[in-house]
Symmetry: C2
Subunit: 371 residues, 2 copies
């Protein structure tokens, strides 16, 4: 597939689709967003389906969704649509599958889906590389003062900022002869963490520490193999205290939710090195924003790069972290590349169609024990 | 060496140094900038030298330099000080060595130095990793719309920018199953280019093309070995036309000066892919700013990341490239990391002292054919 890069304006014509009340002849599928010129043909070519598509390039109105879902066999949603009891009751017993174009599914009530025997698809894995890329980018940006210097240029202050031996200098990601050890840490050590680690190896990373869900089994042979593959001096699973103390760059890459809320708090941040960098590209809830603001103001750590912030998207210029000059804040663009979003949309459509066709879904959550 | 990270305020006390007229007893060395707590001790411990140090944390006044240079045996300068005929004449025949804390030496008149038999030291190589790090960072930032999204957050526009399938999406640096080929290009293929290439390998880069100074010899066996080492499908030296056409990400990493001026011009940019990224971390003169502005406005290429701009530092908010939303402009911070700047300052001092001590300088320019 050659990915079309002209997504600025979605140019896919909205095909004439069956009116919302023709269900019964052909199974109805409701899709809450135009998925662009690379992916929509996968739906348009299915003339055996009655496609009902939200026609605008913005989040679908809930009222439109509730009005169109009755009698649907399948629904394809974004992370912006709640798949809750109300929606499922409105859909009625015809609904076989809900498919989300996201790796997260906090917006879906798995228990209600399971009770009704509705299959549920999501899009894991396809965004691993995009988020790993962004994690490396944020580690570099936080160390190199990217936020401050971009603002300096945009504020016309470059002419008045002559070269100085240590101007804008921060800790270097790459090792150097005078600073030959670099330990990267991972809070959570799943696919994205491992893809991030792999990208950091040629920067001269020497050691790796990680913490995992305490209930998970240790994997010493996997760890040994990874260390060997990457030529690391060590790769160890540690407790969160050691993780905080040893990491030069710490990547937060763990699931959100109540059990991981504020794992990175004042106590944790106080243990970190003064020269360390914190990167969060997973979920905002893992980091206590007030504690991180204090850590940056008081120099407990050197800098931070965040793609996610607790309470997003309600984050304004006066937010404690947006105000910090050594904190780079991005608006949750971890998976936002054309290739990855096309991959996610494709997988979401494949999940939807497979379930409707009675085939195995490429990526689904097993809800059999939730019914 | 453990690098001190407290450079925000230079805390090195200025030692009592010999007055400027005491030369004769001890060789005088003039140093135009405080080099910080890691490096100044290398000078302070040399009680056999008469150290004259510019006392302020800003660029040394030319008048101060001209007043203090007479009778000096050595001078250590920054890129901000011209080492020209006027300075050398003011120094007089005592001057044995000029040492610059920079890899570039456009500020030094090598011919005038050579004529007088003055040795000249500079600081190559030590900044290779810092510039390679920044090159990767800019490639990622340009593809991921970093400039636009940082501004969006700082302008409090995140709350009004709900998730959308293709919002802020650009071309992905990493390969993906649906986009499995990625060619990086290098205009100039010296140490920094090769260090940048090495860092990109785990992103799934498949091919590499480069152009070198046309008078340089081809190096097919080196190229073959590099391709093999990095597991690339191909690594080829090409002409600039092919370089423009084939690169998904093009890194400009060649020397400045009249022979390379505006190598990246309208003609070059028109040949590039619409989805390509241009990164310049070498010298601003290599890229025609007006042509690049046009290329970005008209969509000939996708984005650009620049650490250098022709005419810097006189680059304000209304500059044709600062105005472009898909152009990230940084204020020439390529080597600006604590580790690297300490490494550069250390090498500059080592060059100075070696020449004064009649030893071999670690990094000098051979001026024997310039006299």
């Amino acid at each position: 597939m050659v990915v079309c890069h002209n997504y600025e304006v979605l140019v896919v014509p909205l095909r004439e689709v069956g009116s919302q009340n023709q269900a019964g002849f052909r199974p109805k599928v409701v899709v809450t967003r135009n998925l662009g010129p690379d992916v929509m043909p996968l739906l348009y070519e299915r003339s055996d389906l009655d496609l009902v598509l939200w026609p605008e390039d913005r989040v679908a109105d809930r009222s439109w969704l509730l009005e169109n879902i009755p009698g649907a066999a399948g629904v394809l949603v974004m992370i912006t649509e709640k798949v809750d009891k109300e929606l499922l009751e409105a859909a009625g017993p015809s609904l076989k599958v809900a498919s989300t174009m996201s790796v997260g599914y906090e917006h879906a009530d798995l228990s209600e889906l399971g009770k009704r025997g509705i299959k549920f698809g999501y899009t894991p894995d396809v965004l691993t590389d995009a988020v790993a890329d962004l994690s490396v980018m944020l580690a570099l940006m936080a160390g190199r003062n990217a936020g401050q210097v971009i603002t300096l240029v945009q504020d016309s202050k470059w002419p008045a900022s002559p070269w100085a031996p240590f101007a804008f200098c921060g800790p270097q990601l790459s090792t150097t002869p005078i600073s030959a050890k670099r330990t990267v840490g991972f809070l959570g050590f799943g696919r994205i963490s491992q893809a991030t680690l792999a990208r950091l190896v040629p920067f001269g990373i020497t050691d790796c520490v990680y913490s995992s869900n305490p209930t998970s089994q240790p994997t010493p042979s996997r760890d040994e193999a990874l260390a060997k593959k990457h030529g690391l001096k060590s790769l160890r699973r540690v407790n969160v205290d050691e993780l905080a103390r040893e990491s030069d760059v710490l990547f937060v890459l763990a699931p959100g939710g109540p059990t991981t809320r504020h794992l990175v708090n004042e106590e944790f941040l106080k243990k970190m090195k003064k020269t360390s960098i914190l990167v969060n590209t997973s979920r905002g809830t893992l980091v206590d924003s007030d504690a991180l603001g204090k850590a940056l103001r008081e120099g407990w750590i050197w800098g931070a790069g965040l793609d996610v912030v607790e309470g997003e998207p309600h984050i304004a210029a006066d937010h404690v972290l947006v105000k910090e000059p050594r904190c780079v804040v991005l608006p949750h663009i971890g998976s936002a590349t054309l290739e990855t979003r096309v991959g996610m949309a494709t997988l979401a459509v494949q999940n939807l169609l497979a379930a409707l066709d009675g085939k195995e879904m490429p990526a689904s959550i097993d809800l059999s024990n939730r019914s």
